[in-house]
């Protein structure tokens, strides 16, 4: 069983990895010394403690175990002090990371029994796993950002649809009419003084038809109202329609003499 190994930080890095533990110690403060007034840049540069640690490992070939914890902790605390001003939450995360590093270090330094080594996972393993997972996502984010992106890298064609200037008329179906009726009747029921009569539509339809006929010809002989081809039912309905029209004062029926011709006249508007 071999412990996990962090791959060379940057395979493309030309210089050999510094193995002397003193070397990274010199570099880190140089690279990471951030004057307080440049704090925003610092916060902008690193996404958090994982990112910072990854940077230290990758750029400076930092061996996690080589980090002099006292010094690193001191550095971290400096940053934490700076961050406390307005980024308390972030400061806490850096602090937690420092604590974790110290814990790892201390556990590595403790003598272990053989059984412990066999059973217990390497204290660094979890940190390494997290670092690698973070690094994986960091790279993925970068690649994602390099994919062509709508609006940023290309525009979507969208031309106008030319429409004829036809006015669209609302459609009505017979259910709409029935619903309208129900609404009217519901109201009518509330206002009981309205008398809503129920009758067959056929008579109403014939009433309209008789009036229509009278519109073209001012006066009709009563018998002309009845088509010879009409069925008995039509004759009856037409007759009822004429009676109803007369009752509603929609037409006038006149007969000048007994058994004479009965005339049906439209109401004279003029």
């Amino acid at each position: 069983m071999v412990n996990p190994v962090i791959d060379s930080l940057e395979s493309q890095s030309p210089q050999p990895i510094a193995r002397i533990c003193g070397e990274p110690l010199l570099e880190i403060p140089q690279d990471l010394y951030i004057p307080p007034d440049a704090l925003e840049v610092f916060l902008d540069t690193f996404q958090g403690p994982l990112d910072l640690l990854l940077y230290l490992i990758r750029k400076h070939n930092l061996n996690i175990l080589d980090i002099p914890m006292a010094e690193l902790t001191q550095q971290y605390m400096t940053y934490v002090e700076m961050m406390r001003i307005d980024q308390l939450e972030l400061a806490a995360e850096y602090l937690l990371m420092t604590a974790l590093l110290i814990e790892i270090k201390s556990r590595m330094l403790l003598p272990k029994s053989k059984t412990e080594i066999a059973e217990e996972s390497d204290p660094r393993a979890e940190l390494v796993r997290r670092l690698l997972e973070y690094e994986q996502i960091k790279k993925a984010a970068d690649r994602l950002n390099r994919l062509p992106q709508a609006e940023r890298d290309f525009s979507i064609a969208q031309i106008r649809i030319e429409q004829n200037e036809t006015i669209r008329l609302p459609n009505v179906n017979s259910d709409d009419l029935r619903n309208a009726w129900i609404a009217i009747l519901t109201r009518a029921k509330v206002n009981r003084h309205h008398q809503v009569k129920r009758e067959t539509l056929s008579v109403r339809a014939y009433m309209s038809q008789v009036l229509r006929d009278l519109r073209t010809r001012k006066q009709l002989e009563f018998y002309d109202l009845f088509s010879p081809a009409a069925t008995i039912m039509e004759v009856v309905v037409t007759f009822l329609a004429v009676l109803e029209l007369a009752k509603e004062l929609l037409l006038e029926i006149s007969q000048s003499q007994d058994s004479g011709t009965i005339y049906v006249r439209a109401v004279d508007v003029a």
Partner: protein, 213 residues
């Protein structure tokens, strides 16, 4: 499937030739719904091309597209691509326009005229319990769904309205009898019989319907 050469060499204004310029104009016009005036299009080339040159290029683009489904047109505020009008029936199948709906007042008026014709405006107002604006009747008259078929012989001689054949056609009905029956409204209406001005009973009307067909 070799990549077009244009994607390999970035276009610069220095390497601009008329073909490239036309491509850029096309891209801008195809990606923009609003008309683009020439003054705006000149920005594409950092104002290095003058109005006359751009106008000429636009004319060439217009000619090039003449036989396709879309056309480059010039309108008051500039140039734009649009689909040709004959494409509209097809495009409507993708996004059927929402058909407007008639207001409740119009529908109720129409229902009253359909079920109670012939009626005067006064009848409608009495049934609806509110006044009926002239615009409602005008709308229905303009639609060709109702017509004046006479006048009631009462003071003022008010016009009588009835539905038209056109109304039946538009509603896919052959006769008024095919309108939904009002039977189920019985519960809503006064169940007394003395109001029934006409002798027809339910069964009669059914018989009649059968005969009329």
């Amino acid at each position: 499937m070799s990549a077009p050469s244009t994607s390999l060499n970035p276009i610069t204004l220095e390497s601009l030739n008329p073909e490239k310029a036309k491509q850029i104009l096309e891209a801008a016009l195809l990606a923009t719904q609003e008309p683009l005036p020439i003054s705006e299009l000149r920005k594409l080339f950092d104002h290095e091309l003058n109005n006359a040159v751009i106008s000429r290029l636009l004319e060439e683009i217009r000619d090039k597209w003449r036989d396709s489904a879309i056309e480059l047109v010039t309108v008051a505020s500039g140039w734009r691509f649009q689909t040709k009008p004959e494409m509209q029936p097809f495009l409507e199948k993708l996004a059927p326009q929402k058909t407007p709906r008639y207001s409740r007042a119009i529908l109720e008026t129409l229902a009253i005229i359909a079920y109670r014709q012939p009626v005067t405006r006064g009848d409608i107002e009495e049934i609806r319990g509110v006044s009926v604006s002239g615009s409602i009747l005008k709308t229905l008259l303009a639609r060709g769904w109702i017509e004046e078929i006479g006048h009631r012989n009462v003071p003022g001689k008010p016009a009588l309205f009835a539905t038209t054949l056109n109304f039946l056609d538009d509603l896919n009905l052959r006769t008024l009898d095919e309108l939904p029956p009002l039977d189920e409204m019985k519960s809503l209406i006064e169940p007394d019989n003395h109001n029934q001005a006409l002798p027809f009973t339910e069964t009669d009307s059914t018989d009649h319907k059968g005969n009329a067909d």
